[in-house]
């Protein structure tokens, strides 16, 4: 990309020089931004500043040098190692309309091309956020939620950290037509951890991974916070699945409130520290989410979605429980009640070999999954009418 981009307001790759320059500047100021990230609110305020103000606020002793380079800035050739990556700036057609606002990123690098992002953002987008240290319950719920939504043609947006975000992407990819948008906290080339590379490729196949930083800027802590604002900004609805009642865990919810976007949360046990975040939101008026149906109801208050390739909700949630035999239902019910290991089921009065048979049948039919420490978790909210 060595064209004379300086004079071209909208270059071929969908990013104009001023937006590329903003992205470059954020990369250069990554260190000071990370320092400021101790105060999340201040970081978000800084990110809303214009380039000049940002330089004034953060450049410090490097001010003169950075200003000189800023003035001379020319779009560099893109990183060749990621062939499909394209840049989308806020002036481009593909830039998600919902994201545009004060403090929004000026430029996004998109792993699967600009067109893909435009396409995905044109559908309804739901952000699934939550703790990076999630319980097996939270992971299954995030996964079920994302799968149901993706199967109904909704785009799932989530970060790319551990925990709930991973569950959300995995769930969206479980659905046959599912797609998700993953937001990285650093450059696309360098900030994806090795253990997530497979997921990166799978997400890119049908959805896309995006980042507001140039592809060679490594991820830092502030990037995670900035990514959260993009995740929430992309979505018309934000669902908090699991999280403690801390500033960090509730950051996404705060951003959604600031943007005046609807907020929803999935409840958990009141005894679990990871349920405190969602419960706090629910108490303050967030919508209660028990499964994908509840989200779809919020998105389409009048009934079924008008657009989207598939109007049918996830087959797992509605069809299967109808066919369940009585003894399997009994086991499912008990697992939901907390008798979630073979030994506990036996002590609850179920014969040992019946318990193992039932657990295996429920697992192979996708109603139970293995959780941590040999426990089983329900993959779908238990419904007595089913």
């Amino acid at each position: 990309m060595s064209s004379g981009a300086r004079t071209d307001p909208q270059p071929a790759r969908g990013a104009c020089v001023s937006c590329l320059r903003r992205s470059w500047l954020l990369g250069e100021l990554s260190g000071p931004l990370d320092y400021c990230a101790r105060d999340r609110q201040r970081l978000l305020e800084l990110l809303a500043l214009a380039d000049g103000e940002l330089l004034d606020a953060l450049a410090g002793r490097r001010g003169a040098e950075l200003r000189a380079r800023y003035a001379r800035f020319e779009a560099e050739s893109v990183d060749e190692s990621l062939p499909d990556v394209e840049s989308v700036c806020r002036h481009a057609r593909e830039y998600p309309a919902l994201l545009d606002g004060v403090g929004a990123p000026q430029m996004l690098e998109v792993s699967a091309g600009a067109g893909r992002l435009g396409e995905l953002a044109a559908r309804p987008v739901v952000a699934i956020i939550g703790s990076t240290r999630a319980s097996d319950y939270g992971m299954e719920m995030a996964r079920t939620l994302a799968r149901g939504l993706a199967a109904s043609g909704v785009t799932v947006a989530a970060g790319f950290g551990d925990g709930i975000a991973v569950g959300a992407h995995a769930g969206a990819l479980d659905a046959p037509i599912g797609a998700s948008i993953a937001v990285l906290g650093g450059g696309l080339s360098v900030s994806c951890p090795a253990r997530r590379r497979a997921l990166y490729r799978r997400v890119t196949r049908s959805g896309c991974v995006i980042s507001e930083l140039p592809s060679l800027v490594s991820g830092r802590r502030w990037g995670g916070i900035a990514a959260e604002r993009i995740v929430v900004g992309l979505a018309s609805l934000t669902v908090l699945v699991e999280g403690e009642q801390t500033d960090g865990a509730l950051l996404g919810a705060r951003i959604a409130q600031a943007l005046a976007r609807p907020l929803a949360a999935m409840p958990g046990r009141v005894t679990s520290p990871l349920s405190r975040g969602p419960h706090q939101l629910l108490r303050n008026g967030a919508c209660l989410i028990r499964g994908p149906e509840d989200v779809l109801e919020l998105l389409y208050p009048l009934g079924t979605p008008e657009d989207g390739p598939s109007a049918a909700p996830d087959s797992h949630t509605s069809d299967r429980p109808l066919a369940l035999r009585r003894e399997l239902r009994a086991i499912l019910e008990r697992v939901g009640l907390g008798c979630d290991t073979p030994d506990k089921l036996t002590r609850a009065g179920i014969d040992a070999s019946d318990a193992l048979l039932g657990l295996s049948e429920l697992e192979v039919s996708g109603l139970l999954a293995r959780g941590d420490g040999g426990r089983y978790v329900l993959r779908h909210p238990f419904r007595s009418d089913g």
């Binding site: 240290r133 997921l199 290991t341 040992a352």
Partner: protein
Amino acid sequence: MLARAHTFTIQGLHTLRVSVEVDVRPGLPAFTIVGLADAAVREARERIRAAILNCGYEFPSQRITANLAPGDMRKAGPGLDLALACAVLAASGQLPGEGLERVALFGELALDGSVRACRGTLAVAQATAQAGLHTLVLAGARAREAQLIGDLDVVVAERLSSAVRVLAGGAGDPLPAPGADRDRSSQPAPISVQAGACAGDLGDVRGQHHAVRALVIAAAGAHNLLLSGPPGTGKTMLAHRLPAILPPLSRAEAIEVTRIHSLIGSSVHALAHARPFRAPHHSITAAGLLGGASSGSVGEVVLAHNGVLFLDELSEFTRPTLEGLRQPLEDGRVAIVRARHSAVYPARFIFLAATNPCPCGYAGELDRCSCSEAAMARHQRRLSGPLLDRIDLLATLQRDLATDQRARPLTSTRHARERVADARQRQAHRLTGEGVYVNAHMDPRLLELHVRLDERGQQMLGAARRGGLLSARGEHRVLRVARTIADLNASARVRASDLGAALALRPDLGLAASRIA
């Protein structure tokens, strides 16, 4: 004059027949040993000279050349002394040479002419019988060990002079009384834990019924078992109770185990009756576990042959050590190749491992587990893949159940042993003539033949396969385990409940499946 004697040298677990040729001719007095002898054999010259003189014979002051054939194999150890000394005496005309042709001689000489026993006597006796030599002359201390091999005339020679008398057609020395073993203090500890000696009864295990059931299944079908659970839930306690519920060794197995005992230097007086139980510490090296640390040394996997290899804190073992287990787990033997020797050792054992589900051990308990996702992923990577693929059963233990004092034990060792023996008998009966005796060793052809699922079972297996819960190898494992569970239930058919239990016990690491996205 030329004389030839027969003896054996030990190479790891194998014996090598050695022909000792001694030539004595006029010339400058010298004693040369050729034929790739190690230091212990070269030092034999001094022992032999002193022993011959102290027994009242004459050491020829001529040129003596001893050749150890075959010349291209390394000979080690002092066991060749007796044969060398007798060959020297025969070559110098102090002993009729014909006597040497029909016997094997095995022993180390002391300077006063007495004969000392050497490690590996049982293997040497076995090899002597196989080589068609009908008599083995050796020290009294290990004579009972050699007598365990029938079909062999074991003659005791406590002194070099006794050996000379035997070779001239006389009688041997009397067999020493049992327990009159002189070199007992220098012996390594016996390699098996006696059943029930240090391990308690299965009836001591309160609660954890799921894990106890898995232990019995593992014993019944010789399946490899992984115990996963937080610290203090009884993983090690359970593991130590496995050998006692295993069936006793068959005679062929007992000879194999005894032979290994003998080769690593324990003195044995009877065939082993307890299954070996080896529990090496996690600081063990790959060479220590697999063998080959020094030339010919055998590893823990070999010492666990026909028994149990228990690796506690599996995730603490180094990667190369665990990777090295793949071959023995797959083939039941381990091939060690080093610069100077290569050997294949038997190593068929029940692999029993215990691990924490995550580095801190409390996965699933949010208020206690302090592991990040990255730490859990690292923990999983260390164990997953090829090693986990060779484990048939996973039993997870829970903490809340471990502390329940009201819980009753599921079974006693005696009862479990009976059930296991019963199940083993069914397997042996079914697998007659197939070359395998237990379900764990059934190949896909035998699985096809002996594991017939009912309709419900087939549906479950199909659903598991479609749902990505089972790989092809995993499916075979589940079927083997299901067959064992059916055997424990004394059922000829594999019912859906047997398959269900096998599926519920199929291994992973005890961490949520959704974390591995």
